[in-house]
Amino acid sequence: MTETLTRAVGMPVTRIEGVAKVTGEALYAAEYPLADLAFGSVVQSTIARGRIVAVDVDAALAMPGVLAVLTHENAPRLGDAGDADICLLQDDAVHYRGEAVALVVATSLEAARSAADVLPISYDEQPHDVVLTEDHPGLYRPGHVNPGFETDTEQGDPDAELAASPVTVDRRYSTPTMQNNPMEPHAATAVWDGHRLTAYDSTQGAASVHRVLTKLFDLPGDAVRVYSPHVGGGFGSKGSARPPVVLAAMAARVVGRPVRVVLTRQQMFALVGYRTPTLQRLRIGADRDGTLRAIIHDAVEQTSTVLEFAEQTTVATRMMYAATARRTTHRLAALDVPTPRWMRAPGECPGMFALESALDELAEACGVDPVELRIRNEPPADPESGLPFSSRSLVACLREGANRIGWADRSTTPGSRQDGRWAIGLGVAASTYPARSAPSTARATAQSDGRFVLSITAADIGTGARTALTQVFADEMQAPMQAVDVRIGDSDFGPAMIAGGSMGTASWSWAALLAAQALRAKLDECGGAVPAEGIDVHVDTADAIGAMSKVSRHAFGAQFAQVRVDVETGEVRVPRLVGVFGAGRVVNPKTARSQLIGGMTMGLSMALHEESTIDSRFGDYTNHDLAGYHIAANADVGEIDASWVEEIDHEVNPLGIKGIGEIGIVGTAAAIANAVYNAAGVRVRDLPIRLDRVLVG
């Protein structure tokens, strides 16, 4: 089977829909031309906690073009979809500042916005609490952490091991609130035809939005259709139904015409889910040669009062390195803030910043090279479960990356290399992300014209998933790519995994593979003759996934950073990043490289720039746009060298695919922080590495 795959899989195929995208032919959720389209503008709360006393809708309704004002008093009642975040306009409670409290619907976007801007709402304001602290009185132990991991783990006697260790590190690290800002803002257009609902949504999972809409509006599955053939980024913030699709569907029902709701960039800062701030403490005990004896990783995070979301911040620490004893914990405070949700590598990303920074501190304390320290603590099997790793290429990645960055030339004395006014240095950190697959269904069709069609509710959020699936499907059909069509982003194709958890391509490819095998079997049965109506097969990977062997499946990588620090101003530049990953079979080296480069760039952005600042008095962020919330600009990004080592892993899934969407961001920030220390002798433990932290640090 695998030998026949080498035709398209592994080739650097240019993305199939590229031309359609750059010519504007590819339609996004807010671009479908529909007759009688109305526009909804979201009104957000201006208090962080309390009750809505009154909404004066009359003045708004009198404004030109305004069709309706939806509030908790008149909005359609919604069923329970298991996600309180989208149970919008159902009661008078305000849980956080920026919550959607009304929707103005008008015949033009301008009319909707003008009325929304001046809609008078009076509140009964109650005291709020939006600041996360390590000793917050409300801290509690959640039942599990995202998506279903144990909250706390303990092996051996970590306290005793720590006390007995000749070398110890005990440090606190923090990461701030970070915001999801995909290029395409969250948007949806909803159309009712009697009791049938069609939604054009910007989502990472049309099937999951479909499921939610059937529950919210109490509709049978075949009465709802969700389209999302093109999506302009998500990072996790479009991994579940978000307010636009729910509001658009409610409004379209009320006004009896199609309604489009697009969030403004500013509104996204409260309504799409963000990365929780974390306060972490790392205690590590080691022998003098750097052999780990104890690791204790404690994380404090926030959630909202609407919904519990507990990020799995310390989960990677459970299996990264060998150690005699370890403990990991998560504590949560429910604050009057929007619910934090997924953002590229939730858990691994902030958690590995702390762990990999602490290891750098340990390496220095032991006088062991940081690359060597990691190699020395390579575990023979997954330290948490005791299960063998399906594959683990961390050591190979570390060695290859060290070569590429010129690690041998690194000075071991911090602050000792200078180039003009710049102090220069190198840093390293490891990277990891789970390699999982989730059940998906797919339909494959052989048409009488000789073409093959794969229909699957996959999502291409800019990753190149459509192209990768085409490669896989074509190979399995033993057909050229030109002879196959892959249709995605339509809930009518049936349930499938979302584009999330770096599981999309792994999960969908599996379904594509089964579908192609079934179709070929059927074609064989009928001797290759395809009737006019075509031949159809339908597959579900649930059984195959349920029957998987018990092994530990993860991707690993090594990140290296070269930095320059102006010690007079604290400015940090990153001329070079090197990332080497062991991520199984790479279906498409071109789009894969883009994913890894994108992840590393986002990691650089996290290291140096990204930070939502909150004003506790208002319970609100003081930066709500891309002028105030900095992400890396082109000038901040130097050379990024992303590559992978050969890794054949038959135990992750039949195609040997590990996800690559998230691993690129894991470890980058620690590599940069460690390089800043090597360059300037300043250890920054609180992200972002702002110039004032380097200057006074």
């Binding site: 003008s114 208002f618 082109n634 004032d692």
Partner: protein, 330 residues
């Protein structure tokens, strides 16, 4: 965003006449339109002045340069005379915003751009500058980017313009026109300190049109530079910036101009530092002493105290670099 009327002015007189009664002039629109979208600016009438014929850059009779108010930031930065005789100006402009924005942004609009204080830009929050008397939440709130010099109890916002900092160092003059005819306001008198009225940012009479900026003939300006420290490598406002020009003769400071950005509600001409440098040896020590003297008056807040050492280091470094460069050519 509210509905508004839009008019295109045929000439300066017509623009001024049309603007009577509180209209806003629209030049590149890169600041005004953003603020209108945010609801911070709500003009009933917008008068488009971008096509008025004030976009040339020409020498003046006394050897200076007259830059039209509608000249784009890009055109000014690329102008050969500006680059050669006033490099600080070209560098200041090029350090601002992005290429696309600089193509649209004009000189007049740049001088009148509003502060980037987050509370000012958010109409759901109090702000003395936007809503006089409502309070200044920045003082006890998010003020890392706010002023350490020249602020008041009422407002601590900084002026965000890089251009204005260079013009302050160059002793530029703003040329304006209103019903009373054309007039000239030295840049040093153009901006106001916030005092009790942070809503009043300039001494430009209501309805007046900026037609140009005049640069004096200034020998020292040829040996000038601009250095901007910001939170990312480009496309960010200054945390601190320094515009400086320095003439050194036989190791002694002969002429020096220093202006600072990111520290005050207005471009901050560092007169104390300049005075301290008059006829002293051009050494790192002198530069540092002068910088410290200038910053003596600083009143940092909880989260922006780092600006004091940062400004000191940057002033010292910029002057040292200029001295080194002029030493190399001497």
């Amino acid at each position: 965003m509210r509905e508004f009327e839009y008019a295109v002015a045929g000439d300066a007189r017509a623009a001024i006449a049309a603007a009577r009664g509180g209209a806003r002039y629209l030049a590149g629109g890169t600041n005004l339109v953003d603020l209108m979208k945010l609801g911070v600016e709500t003009p009933a009438l917008v008068v488009d002045v971008s096509r008025l014929p004030f976009d040339s850059i020409e020498p003046t009779a006394d050897g200076g340069l007259l830059i039209g108010a509608m000249a784009s930031n890009s055109d000014v930065a690329a102008h050969p005379v500006v680059r050669q005789r006033y490099p600080v100006l070209a560098r200041a402009l090029l350090s601002g915003a992005s290429g696309q924005l600089r193509n649209a942004a004009t000189v007049g609009g740049n001088l009148l751009q509003r502060t980037r204080c987050g509370y000012f830009q958010d109409v759901t929050k109090p702000c003395n500058k936007r809503a006089p008397g409502s309070g200044c939440p920045a003082r006890d709130g998010d003020h890392r980017n706010h002023a350490i010099l020249g602020a008041s109890k009422q407002c601590i916002a900084t002026n965000p313009s890089d251009l204005a900092v260079a013009l302050a160092a160059l002793d530029a003059v703003v040329v304006i026109e209103d019903d009373a005819g054309p007039r000239r306001i030295p840049l040093s008198e153009f901006y106001r300190r916030p005092g009790e009225r942070p809503d009043l940012e300039t001494n430009l009479p209501p309805g007046a049109l900026i037609t140009g900026v005049e640069l004096p003939a200034l020998g020292v300006a040829a040996r000038s530079t601009y250095r901007k420290v910001r939170d990312r490598a480009s496309y960010a406002f200054a945390v601190i910036s320094v515009a400086a020009a320095l003439e050194v003769r036989e190791g002694i400071v002969d002429d020096v101009r220093i202006a600072l950005g990111g520290v005050a509600p207005l471009p901050w001409r560092a007169r104390r530092a300049e005075a301290a440098l008059a006829r002293v040896p051009a050494t790192e020590e002198s530069f540092r002493v002068a910088a410290v003297l200038e910053l003596d008056a600083a009143e940092p807040l909880r989260d922006n105290a780092f600006k004091v050492p940062l400004a000191r280091n940057l002033i010292t470094r910029v002057l040292l670099d200029l001295a080194t460069a002029s030493g190399a050519t001497a």
